[in-house]
Symmetry: C2
Subunit: 520 residues, 2 copies
């Protein structure tokens, strides 16, 4: 997979392949530089003639649905991750496909989780050629060690929508796990035993896949309302005993941090936003699910409450904290991409101001705008940041690919992107000379907040000016790096081979970086 | 426009052109017989790079938006009819385009109304070549008299979505009048002075047009929620003083009939449904906006109330009557395609069970099913019905094209399609030997209810069997025709020339019939 004659240096100075899994891809050209000249992908036209008049598309089981969908070697099979680590369907799908003797599939999940570790055997036995999608944990490790036959392709949530929308990835069969559905295929995530809130990550799959299978453990009479997925896109429905493990749907990262260092980082972040004039009536922010980000949100909530102000919207991953703000009248809307706890699910079901969104409305870069640019501030994480503000979210300092991109790249387009990060983790500095893997170009990353100081990107002279008399500990990023190295020493570079195992796509479909195989 | 060497007899025995306005079209092949082999239309890809980061797409005026959209001769310009006879935008658009000297446009409204009479001058002065869409009143008369340069093309609501979806009609510029919007282009019909309920008829336009302009008189801060139209599809927004005339938005036909004959027809219709076992717990029906259809709905409501039953859903055109049923708990959902009064608008804004639908979810024949086939019964009108149960909704007995198709063709796919019609109008029989214009094939029309008897389509042996001992006045359609002729005499045929002025599309995009020019 590593054809050196097809590797070029892209606009970020990264060596990337132009041929990936037998297809030609475009190297990254710079932020906003690649303008696509194609047309939106159009799947084959259907006809109502070929669908049952009574609307009942129910088949006896998943195998029958896969057979009727015409599954064959080399196809692209998609699943989504709204059940997060409680997903049980993806493994079942590939177990069935393996039994059927199908080979060389491309698995196109919106994200994979540790619960998908059993997929490793299907990567080994040839059922699956490769994963295109985030690989959290064991699958990422497998890929990092060069064991995956095909090359991994990592995309952001918006980039995944873009790839499907543009026809860069043609999904042959989409399998949509739905907490509630009717037999026609209308489906939602707010009702049922495995309610997960919304199904936005499966939207592109429903709209563009050639065959769409909705699998549920809770059938309601037509119409299933809300119909977050429209049955008009669905070929078959399947009823199973259990569609997901509800207790694992809730993410473990949705607790406010108790670490004094992280609480300090959160407080500094909120104070920085205030000093920069961001926290005001009608402002908007993105609150991630991590402990630090959640804590920043709580500081914002306190500021709003004290001042009698109201935010216009919170971009979420929702959980009980933004829900509380919505119900306390501190914000007009939660624009939710993914609920992270059952309070989020309840609120989405009950509150008209709790809006389900999709990577189309929020993140697709090949739309006529998206709302990521309308966020006054976003608070994101990173595994590494370099002195040019470039950041990494997918690989660890040892080079292992253990995380997905999520909506991270897409959120960088906000009006102020802040990375509140510890200066070091396990005595390894987070701010370094050059990131192992480039996921976000430094020009889009505005502020780094650590427990020992805040660095503002020199490009943001406006923020520098606004906060210069704030009394906040504002330093240069070089100073932060030096301080970390003074404490921890200069970190060792990861030991990587020259073999490429995965690529990182940019939001416009171009190739931003490649991930190298780790040396065993 | 009438090339006889390109006219063929279609599967309904109607002579139709295969070339229409310079494009090749497929003659009707029979119900469910035409299976498309193309792909869904994909408009050119956009890039967020080309849209403002602050999301503000507001331009000073409509002319500027048309200019920026690159308007030029021969383009297709679309508008929608949610304001019905209170629309003021379409005329403004073509006045501007005329001033700009643009020629030979195709106007692609979802429906045109008498308020659009001023468009006649733009058909005369060459600004507009033709109208493709329903022509109610003066524009239909103009077309009937052979004065329109191009040929009219009439499509059902579902057929319009299908045509856009399939790329049969490529919309260059869609102009979407919105009662409420944000500057990004998110828009809805439930809020604002000109609230009309929903914007479903503009959905296809937003999704597939090359350029999309949202015009509103009520701008709200981002996000405009609900976002019935997604700003991600929108190129430009324009703020005007007044977007529509609210008092004319309300249709004049939304009153229960007071005519004793029509009330009798309504009662017979409801009794027939009951005798046929259709009225039961969990059933569904379509309630049109006409006085008779509304009255049928009231009879259903009474039956449900008396029996302690509940309908599952009403397909509407909503107004105060189905809203009352929803609020009285007599039905779970209103699946609404178009609100017909302000109670409908209020209910859509307030009731979670009042669902806004679009021609995509309800009617598109090139989807993987649509919900028209799930309706237990629909009650529709007709200008003429023939002894083979074929029906006409667009031309009068004098041959004048004065009505649109609406969702009529799409609704024919219900489980039981009933036409409650008077035996004669103005002493002209409604049941005749052969319809002037074929809009609905007889095999889909199940029952004709008149004040003097009920005729069941012989194909529906199930309905004949179920109602044979009902005591209802069930007769043959020939008997109904004979009775009408006994009273009124045999009607004269309309005086038509051989020149074709418009075609009637079937739900699958094939040509079902052609409309001839009336002799002056």
């Amino acid at each position: 997979m590593n054809k050196y004659d097809k590797i070029v240096k892209n606009a970020a100075g990264r060596l990337v392949p132009t041929e990936i899994n037998g297809e030609t891809h475009i190297p990254y050209k710079g932020v906003g530089k690649h303008i696509p000249d194609g047309r939106r992908y159009g799947p084959p036209l259907a006809s109502c003639t070929n669908y049952p008049d009574d609307g009942n598309k129910l088949l006896p089981d998943l195998k029958e649905a896969l057979l009727k969908s015409g599954v064959k070697d080399g196809m692209t099979i998609s699943t989504h991750h709204h059940f997060r680590n409680g997903d049980i369907l993806a493994v079942q799908v590939f177990d069935i496909l393996h039994e059927m003797g199908i080979k060389d599939l491309r698995w196109f999940p919106s994200v994979s989780f540790p619960c998908h570790a059993p997929i490793v055997k299907h990567l080994e036995n040839g059922t699956i050629n490769r994963i295109e999608g985030s690989m959290n944990g064991p699958l990422g490790k497998f890929c990092s060690e060069g064991k995956m036959k095909g090359m991994g392709v990592l995309r952001s949530h918006g980039g995944r929508y873009q790839a499907v929308h543009d026809g860069e990835v043609i999904i042959d069969i989409a399998i949509i796990a739905a907490p509630t559905a009717d037999t026609f295929g209308n489906a939602n995530g707010v009702d049922g035993d495995a309610a997960c809130g919304l199904l936005g990550f499966a939207l592109a799959d429903s709209q563009f896949a050639h065959k769409v299978i909705v699998v549920t453990d809770n059938i309601v009479p037509f119409p299933c309302i809300p119909w977050q997925i429209h049955g008009n896109y669905v070929d078959y429905t399947v009823l199973v005993d259990k569609i997901g493990i509800p207790e694992k749907i809730v993410s473990g990262t949705t607790k406010i941090t108790k670490s004094p260092d992280r609480l300090l980082i959160a407080e500094l972040t909120a104070k920085f936003c205030d000093a920069a004039g961001i926290v005001k009536d009608g402002f908007s922010y993105q609150a991630g699910a991590g402990g630090t980000a959640l804590s920043v949100g709580m500081f914002f909530a306190d500021m709003l409450k004290e001042r009698g102000m109201k935010a216009r919207f919170i971009r979420a991953g929702s959980n009980k904290y933004p829900v509380q703000m919505l119900e306390d009248g501190l914000v007009d809307y939660i624009l939710d991409g993914q609920t992270f706890d059952l309070e989020g699910v309840r609120s989405m079901r009950e509150n008209p101001g709790h809006i389900n969104t999709s990577p189309f409305t929020s993140y697709n870069y090949h739309s006529k705008g998206n709302f990521s640019t309308l966020l006054d501030v976003v608070v994101l994480g990173a595994t590494e940041v370099d002195v040019n503000f470039n950041a990494n979210v997918v690989t660890h300092s040892d080079g292992y690919l253990l995380h997905g991109i999520g909506g991270w790249q897409n959120c960088l387009f906000s009006r102020c992107t802040i990375l509140p990060i510890p200066l070091f983790r396990d005595r390894i500095p987070v701010i370094i000379d050059e990131v192992t893997t480039l996921c976000g170009p430094g020009e889009l990353i505005d502020v780094i907040v650590t427990e020992r100081g805040i660095a503002i990107n020199p490009l943001r002279t406006d923020l520098i000016e606004k906060t210069k008399n704030s009394g906040l500990p504002i330093v240069s990023i070089q100073e932060l790096k030096d301080e970390a190295e003074k404490i921890c020493g200069v970190p060792a570079k990861p030991e990587l081979s020259d073999e490429l195992v995965a690529v990182i796509k940019w939001v416009d479909g171009t190739v931003l970086d490649a991930v190298k195989k780790v040396k065993a």
